[in-house]
Symmetry: C2
Subunit: 341 residues, 2 copies
């Protein structure tokens, strides 16, 4: 059914009526008035972040379903709250879509959004819908809270170990597979399960929320950021905000096996994907080097997620120096930036 | 200078470096980390609202400057916080623009945004920028706080007086003037000052923030909403949420003199603009009828803004009944809704 048949108010009613799956006493008033009314935990500070997800910039309708779009629009924001060590709480959703859109696609978008949000206890408490002259535009604002000290990009210290959660490179591999098209991807003859794993990492990333909260409270963790734009760009942010440089050992980067397989099949460099690809939504942190081993063991025990030391912070503003297995400097392409700047 | 020459990070740096004009101890951490970190007043609840402003849907670049767009994107949200009786505090800004955009236009957009926000003590604390394949897409999320009881749409009671702040109809008149084009508007030969007043009301609306806070604390005020979609639609929201109907006397609607002049010049009905036009961003409220006179006097003394009783709430769900000067029912076109539903 086309959205013109139900209209904006009909659409809002459907969104509001759909069960959120989150029973949250902090939502004093949800969707349906001029604003949402929300209650933070006593003593908590508020965390707020917003991210755009734009058709033909961040995704293509040919490969991303409305459910995927909703999922990802929430997850990229969950990842920002995770990087502060915070607790995500509430989402507000701006959605502009062409008038030719089907109601079922809009509902699937909100289903994907809630599917990603609900396991973290995040309720959708507000939003706005509009016609779009061309393409889907999604803007999710996520609100969270922190009862301790948020982990900042600026807190790295000279001598800190640089570590990253999980495995890298799958999202970039998935994007490469999607961009070459289904037929050519099949012709590359890689393991279908590995290809599917990479594509899924791109379309349905996971935010490290539990890991962020654990690391945010752990002793020895200093700076933290999420790997949305790739290690190269995001470690660059830490260095710039903290006033230092970094050395990264490329052979220590935890490259996912599926990304290695995809790189082999497509004739690409898996290290480039892992270092510069972005969208893995792992957490990148710096910590007291003496604490690194205990942090890795503790994080694994608490969440099942690995933590890998990949380099160290330097006092001088050298930028990021990438080292090969032989200890020599190598060049790595930087991460993604809009407007080609 | 084209935005491609400074890139996304250059753009964010320019936005961050620009003085906000707001010195806010509640901003623990502003733009520049994964999330903003914000501190509410002790005991306050959080208010959150988000609104889309889309090129060729909400504005046209031919008539709205980037500064106008920024101004309006904040003001429509300020109005939502005002309608709760709350205090606006912080804005997050999603902006998607074509790569052909000039840096100066982006800076003018943020200037307009801050120009509207700063007088209310609102700081821009976060945002996201993206390329847009076509047109400008703006999504502003505004966070506010309330230390008392927010004024809800659902709080109207049978017998309540229905009242509205300020004067109506100018924004709809301004839109009509803009849509007919400068040449034909000039040919309509209306007073240029009145025409300018109407166009300005459309492009640079004012949110009734001080009025909302005063009314939000005043005894006798029950339901409140902002007139973003027109009296017809917005009073309809109050009736639906409160489970009642309403009678409105059309001859009591406070139609702005400039809107009357525009209507005369264009051969349009000023009452239709005032009742159904929308975007006046006045506050519509219901109150104890015995308090109406004192509320009007108090609001005028505190803010200089008039409050006009235009009708009353009825116990039965009759919808909105419009009455002419002779007390007979008349038909009025409803307000704006997206997707033509």
């Amino acid at each position: 059914m086309n959205i013109r048949r139900v209209g904006e108010l009909g659409l809002i009613r459907r969104i509001r009526d759909a069960r959120n799956g989150v029973d949250d006493p902090g939502v004093v008033l949800g969707i349906g008035d001029d604003t949402a009314v929300l209650a933070l935990e006593p003593g908590a500070v508020l965390l707020a972040t917003t991210d755009l997800v734009v058709e033909d910039v961040h995704f293509r309708r040919a490969s991303a379903s409305p459910r995927d779009i909703g999922w990802k629009a929430v997850t990229v924001n969950l990842s920002d709250i995770a990087a502060m060590g915070g607790r995500p709480r509430w989402a507000l959703v701006g959605l502009a879509i062409p008038t030719s859109t089907e109601v079922e696609d809009v509902e699937a978008f909100y289903d994907g959004l809630r599917e990603a949000a609900a396991p973290h206890g995040v309720a959708v408490v507000g939003g706005d819908t509009s016609e779009s002259p061309r393409g889907w535009f999604v803007n999710v604002t996520l609100l969270g809270e922190h009862t301790g000290a948020p982990r900042l990009r600026s807190a790295a210290r000279p001598g800190d170990a640089v570590a990253v959660t999980g495995m890298l490179g799958r999202a970039a591999a998935g994007l490469a597979l999607l961009e070459m098209g289904a037929e050519r991807a099949r012709a590359a003859a890689m393991d279908p399960a590995a290809a599917e794993e990479c594509v899924r990492a791109h379309l349905r990333p996971t935010a490290r929320v539990a890991e962020g909260r654990w690391l945010g409270e752990a002793a020895g963790v200093h700076a933290m950021i999420d790997c949305s734009d790739g290690i190269a760009t995001d470690l660059g942010h830490i260095c710039r905000e903290s006033g230092g440089g970094a050395r990264v050992r490329l052979d220590r980067l935890p490259v996912a096996e599926a990304a290695r397989e995809a790189a082999l099949a497509l004739g690409r460099d898996p290290i480039e994907w892992a270092a510069g690809g972005g969208e893995d939504y792992e957490l990148l942190l710096t910590c007291d080097p003496a604490s690194a081993e205990a942090l890795a063991a503790g994080l694994r025990a608490a969440t099942g997620t690995r933590l890998t030391v990949i380099g160290e912070i330097e006092g001088s503003e050298t930028g990021i120096v990438w080292l090969g297995p032989d200890g020599r400097r190598v060049a790595v392409r930087a991460g993604h930036e809009h407007f080609g700047g």
